[in-house]
């Protein structure tokens, strides 16, 4: 054996003695340890895979550039805001959806590649694996929102609300990102392979574009408006936009900021309850 790192320079005799006995049953990790250990894997996978790390950022930047500079001139917003100040809060919320597509294919990949078979065979609570995944995906959504906000700032976006409200807006997006990650985990589990998961994730397109993220709902045809105005992404955007820019009057919508925040939280709670139950049940079930 050639020289290895110093960490392996243990006395062989003591190493052998202190290893757990062969015939003892493993105790297995508890819920928190298992969730953190498996979640850590997802986070490392993201930050150490340049394609994953760069693709999301570049895609977000491109879309933001196009809306800001290509379509922006033709879009008139209600209220007193510049288009860029109106656009970016909505765009940040849709980052939750675009990041989620990656989560769905990641989960599908782990299902088909045998990673989940191994994890299911280990003496850990199976629900912890899903919890770890959702925490990791929530963190990755946070990262996506953070980098997109910086790009938004560079292209001229400014928040005009109070600092407390702005922080609250980011917090709400994190909560939403965590809740929505369960939708994508569920999609990944039922799709079975990464390609199918990508296909299913196309669902994010209507939710992202038939919303008030990029253009005012009033400019859409009448039959489309009820969905566009009331679907959860639009509700969350109303809350985030109002928080960031100083109230519902400034952004040109009805009700109060508190109303939109409360409604957003109701949506998030509902999505979390339904999809975390579905995903956990599906993952934990022995066929």
């Amino acid at each position: 054996m050639t020289s290895t790192t110093s960490t392996t320079a243990l006395d062989p005799a003591t190493t052998a003695d202190t290893l757990p006995a062969t015939k003892d049953a493993a105790t297995g990790a508890g819920f928190t340890t298992a969730a953190l250990a498996t979640g850590r894997r997802t986070v490392l996978q993201f930050f150490r895979t340049p394609q994953l790390l760069m693709m999301g950022t570049i895609q977000g930047a491109l879309f933001l550039f196009m809306f800001r500079y290509v379509f922006g001139g033709a879009i008139s917003t209600r209220g007193d805001l510049n288009y860029v100040d109106w656009l970016v809060p909505g765009f940040l919320v849709t980052v939750i959806l675009w990041t989620g597509m990656g989560a769905a294919s990641g989960v599908a990949e782990d299902s088909s590649s045998g990673v989940y078979d191994r994890l299911r065979s280990l003496p850990i609570p199976r629900a912890a694996v899903m919890m770890g995944r959702s925490l990791a995906d929530g963190a990755l959504v946070g990262w996506g929102i953070f980098t997109t906000a910086i790009i938004g700032f560079i292209i001229g976006f400014r928040a005009h609300g109070g600092i407390g409200s702005i922080l609250l807006a980011f917090l709400l997006m994190l909560v939403a990102g965590y809740a929505f990650s369960w939708i994508f985990i569920t999609l990944g589990l039922i799709s079975g392979n990464a390609q199918a998961a990508q296909g299913m994730s196309m669902l994010v397109i209507p939710f992202s574009f038939i919303s008030n993220a990029n253009v005012p709902v009033a400019s859409m045809p009448g039959w489309m408006q009820p969905f566009a105005a009331n679907q959860p992404v639009s509700v969350i955007i109303n809350a985030v936009r109002s928080l960031m820019q100083g109230g519902t009057d400034v952004v040109g919508i009805g009700h109060s900021t508190a109303y939109w925040v409360a409604l957003s939280l109701v949506w998030c709670a509902g999505i979390f309850l339904v999809f975390s139950t579905l995903a956990t049940a599906r993952f934990s079930k022995t066929q």
Binding site: T8, T15, T18, A25, R41, G114, R118, L119
Partner: protein
């Protein structure tokens, strides 16, 4: 000591497909048992049932004396699974991969470090331990995957076609690692489509087809069951293959097989040495020159053919793997 695995009348239905169809199997403690069969025989389904990934439709299954249907959590404490594909994370180092699994097995921080280091050394990966798995060769990944299944020191290792897709050298290295494990007292259940692999590694071989056990025993016993000894001839010139085959047809208990790859003709016989000398005489009368001629025990390949009427074909992908996924 109770058998490592005891299955009785095990069935598993996926709709119309009967992946397991009344499988009875006992794997004794302290040895390696090989589950041998063609694609779709039910090998992966059985491993998945032992690993508590699948619930059998009917029958009983005990792993280390524990009822897998009623106490799956306890079963998971004593097994380690390496599936058909290396399921280690490419974006983590070899050491990080092992440490993650060790932590999941419930080892504490100090034990995690030691167990990971020990396993890396054991599998000849100590120098590569700090490299991202992305940079590993296919053989190294499979070895690390094996390491991940044993880092928790399980009583029973489940290896599903561990060497599929490996080059011969990597295969030998993995075999060596598995032999060492068995020598150290780990029980192993291994599935394979490679008869040579079962022959090389296993004390007990169980041949399954269509979800049922069709034969079991030591490799030698199975060769005995496959019936007769075989006369094998390699003519000096390839053009003589058919002529030699005609000669052998006259003495064999079954039609001869011509293997064009190895330029050999073989035929099962019942008469042993007497028939070998008559074959030599007949070939000589017809002036057919031979490079090699002999009487030998049947290979597991021939045993399988004799038992099922069809050869093992290792070239296809395994459909029962996707059914079990």
């Amino acid at each position: 000591m109770s058998p490592t695995i005891e299955a009785q009348g095990l069935t598993k239905h996926f709709g119309e497909v009967h992946a397991l169809d009344g499988l009875d199997l006992t794997a004794e403690s302290g040895r390696l048992t090989a589950l041998l069969g063609p694609n779709g025989a039910g090998k992966t389904t059985f491993i998945s049932a032992v690993a508590t990934l699948l619930r059998p439709t009917s029958g009983t299954l005990h792993v280390a004396g524990i009822d897998a249907a009623t106490h799956p959590k306890e079963v998971r404490r004593v097994i380690g699974l390496a599936g058909q594909y290396a399921s280690v994370e490419p974006a983590m180092t070899g050491k990080e991969n092992l440490e993650m699994v060790a932590r999941l097995f419930g080892l504490d921080k100090r034990e995690v470090k030691q167990a990971a280091g020990k396993v890396l050394e054991q599998l000849g990966l100590a120098d590569a331990g700090d490299r991202l798995v992305r940079t590993y060769s296919g053989g190294m990944r499979r070895r690390l995957d094996l390491g991940a299944s044993l880092v928790g020191r399980p009583r029973l290792l489940l290896l599903d076609e561990p060497t599929t897709g490996l080059d011969p050298r990597s295969r030998m290295e993995l075999w060596e690692a598995i032999r060492t494990l068995v020598a150290d007292g780990t029980d192993v259940l291994l599935t394979t489509q490679y008869l040579e692999e079962a022959d090389q590694l296993a004390r007990d071989v169980v041949i399954i087809d269509h979800g049922r056990v069709i034969a079991s025993g030591t490799p030698d016993e199975l060769k005995g069951q496959g019936g007769s000894d075989v006369i094998e001839v390699r003519p000096r010139w390839g053009r003589d293959l058919d002529a030699v085959s005609e000669v052998l047809a006259g003495v064999g208990s079954e039609p001869p097989r011509i293997d064009h790859d190895t330029q050999r003709v073989s035929v099962p016989v019942t008469g042993g040495a007497d028939q070998l000398s008559s074959v030599v005489r007949l070939l000589d009368e017809r002036s057919l020159a031979v490079d090699d001629i002999g009487l030998r025990r049947p290979t597991l390949d021939e045993v399988f053919l004799a038992l099922t009427g069809q050869p093992i074909d290792a070239s296809d992908t395994d459909p029962d793997a996707s059914a079990a996924a």
